[in-house]
């Protein structure tokens, strides 16, 4: 098997908690714009697309307790990678999808990855989707990530999206769209940290189309230095449904944050709530941790760690 460099291994660890590639189960590692290694399992088939870059992932009906990992690593400066990954999850599955992307840029050209993920989730499934984005490298070239995640969630299915950008990404524009059928449930947890001159914006559209569909969107972000963030979580209730949007941002230094949650109801039995808060770390929180023996810097770090967990 082809060997990964130490930098590639480090990036893989950061975004997919993998110290090395797995030896069993379903996985696909994309490295510098090409498939590096791919493996299907008995219940999960990974098939390369023929008409465009990317893969189709087929999870067979009734698959339980399996994980499919599809991390992306870019360590070539100047790389502009666009990939389409489609997930076809049949009825009654219980699966975890790990899909991180790490860009390590030591050069002067921008490195960019656009991952377009579309999920077709059948009925009565449990799906957990974990996506970590991370940038590193001391080059002057940008590290740019513009992911799109689109989900069609079938009747009675529950989907949990855990999406985080843990640092080092210079520019990101995220778009997430979800359509929910009867009794479907969606939870989104988005965590984002920006520093330096970084910019991040995240748009989310959730359409609660099915009767008794539910969603909870939680966004937690920290904007440091002169970075800028914009959030547009939008929930539309088109049936008897429940939706809750909660955006919390900690602002530091000269950062700028805009938070614009929107809820719209097109049905008399739609119940929708939104909350948004932006503020600096409360002085009392720092003080409390200082009375426990932490200095101000350690206290701040501890508070941010918890907030973004």
């Amino acid at each position: 098997m082809k060997e990964l460099t130490e930098v590639q291994k480090m990036m893989l660890q950061k975004v997919a908690d993998m110290a090395k590639m797995p030896t069993e189960g379903a996985y696909n590692l994309r490295l510098n714009g090409k498939g590096f290694v791919r493996h299907s399992s008995e219940h999960i088939d990974i098939v390369p697309k023929e008409d465009k870059p990317g893969i189709d992932i087929y999870v067979k009906e009734g698959t339980k307790g399996e994980t499919v990992s599809i991390p992306v690593v870019i360590d070539q400066s100047g790389m502009d990678d666009l990939v389409y990954n489609d997930f076809h999850i049949a009825d009654g599955c219980d699966v975890t999808i790990v899909a991180g992307c790490g860009i390590h840029n030591c050069g002067c050209d921008d490195s960019k990855h656009n991952g377009i993920h579309t999920f077709y989730v059948g009925k009565n499934c449990h799906v957990r989707y974990q996506e970590k984005h991370y940038g590193a490298g001391d080059g002057t070239g940008g590290r740019i990530l513009d992911p799109q995640t689109v989900l069609y969630i079938g009747e009675g299915s529950e989907v949990y999206l855990d999406m985080s950008q843990i640092g080092g990404v210079d520019s990101t524009h995220r778009y997430t769209k979800c359509e929910l059928d009867d009794g479907a449930e969606l939870q989104i947890l988005e965590r984002l940290m920006t520093h330096g001159e970084q910019t991040a914006d995240s748009e989310v559209d959730v359409f609660l189309n099915g009767v008794d569909s539910r969603c909870q969107i939680t966004s937690r972000s920290v904007a440091k230095d002169a970075s800028k963030q914009v959030f547009y979580p939008r929930v539309q209730g088109n049936n008897q449904c429940f939706g809750h949007v909660q955006c919390d941002s900690i602002i530091m230094g000269d950062a700028k944050v805009r938070s614009i949650p929107e809820i719209s109801a097109n049905h008399v039995d739609a119940s929708l709530i939104h909350e948004a808060a932006i503020g600096k770390i409360a002085g009392e929180q720092i003080l409390k941790l200082m009375t426990l023996g932490l200095d101000a810097e350690e206290a701040e770090q501890k508070i941010l760690e918890g907030f973004l967990r």
Binding site: R220, D248, A282, E284, Q285, L287, K288, L289, M290, T291, L292, G293, L294, D295, A296, K302, I303, G306, F307, L308, R309
Partner: protein, 241 residues
Amino acid sequence: MLELKNICFSAKGETGGVEILRNVDLTIPNGKFIVITGPNGGGKSTLAKVIMGVEKPTEGRIFLNGEDITDLSVTERARKGISYGFQAPPRFKGMKVSDLLSCAAGRTLSHDDGCKYLTQVGLCSREYIDRDVDTSLSGGELKRIEIATILAKGGNVMIFDEPEAGIDLWSFSRLTGTFESIHRNTDASIVIISHQERIIRLADEIIMVSDGRITEKGPVEEIFPKILANTTGACSYLEEA
């Protein structure tokens, strides 16, 4: 031993400086259980904050075991063994009770160790150890977790600012038991700001603070009757009732 010598503290008011503490002299020997009581606005909480370093005295010096700590920061005082339980503890989104207890202990606590401190303050440890210290906790729960952090931190001077506030009657007796147990099992000085008779009765010594001064000082049996007399005597409505 904690010594306060001639402590004064002024805050800026609308019409200039307002004296909150006036020439306070106080010595708290190791292992003593002291309750500071007195009317609202008398300077009790400010006194506690001055000891912790949250407020800097405008005059006077503070000594801990003979060392002048007046110019030390909150962190430095905490590391030297002063602990301080907030009257209104802050909440932390995303921080778990176990994280806060570990921060207090200065090491990663095992699950069992963390639970031990929660049990001491009357919380079902299994239910709380993995909870976030956020708005999902009631005021009373938060207050008990605050006390647990002081137990986890330990120290040679433990200050609690109105620990009973917000705690229900059922948990209150356990709380007084916890204070008795700390007093019995450690050499720490315990300083509690309280208006609660059951806490006041636990003290080795009561200190009355009023109008920024220590007005009375002595054992419970001597001071408590005076407190009661002053409480009703100062209020004509109570007298009539």
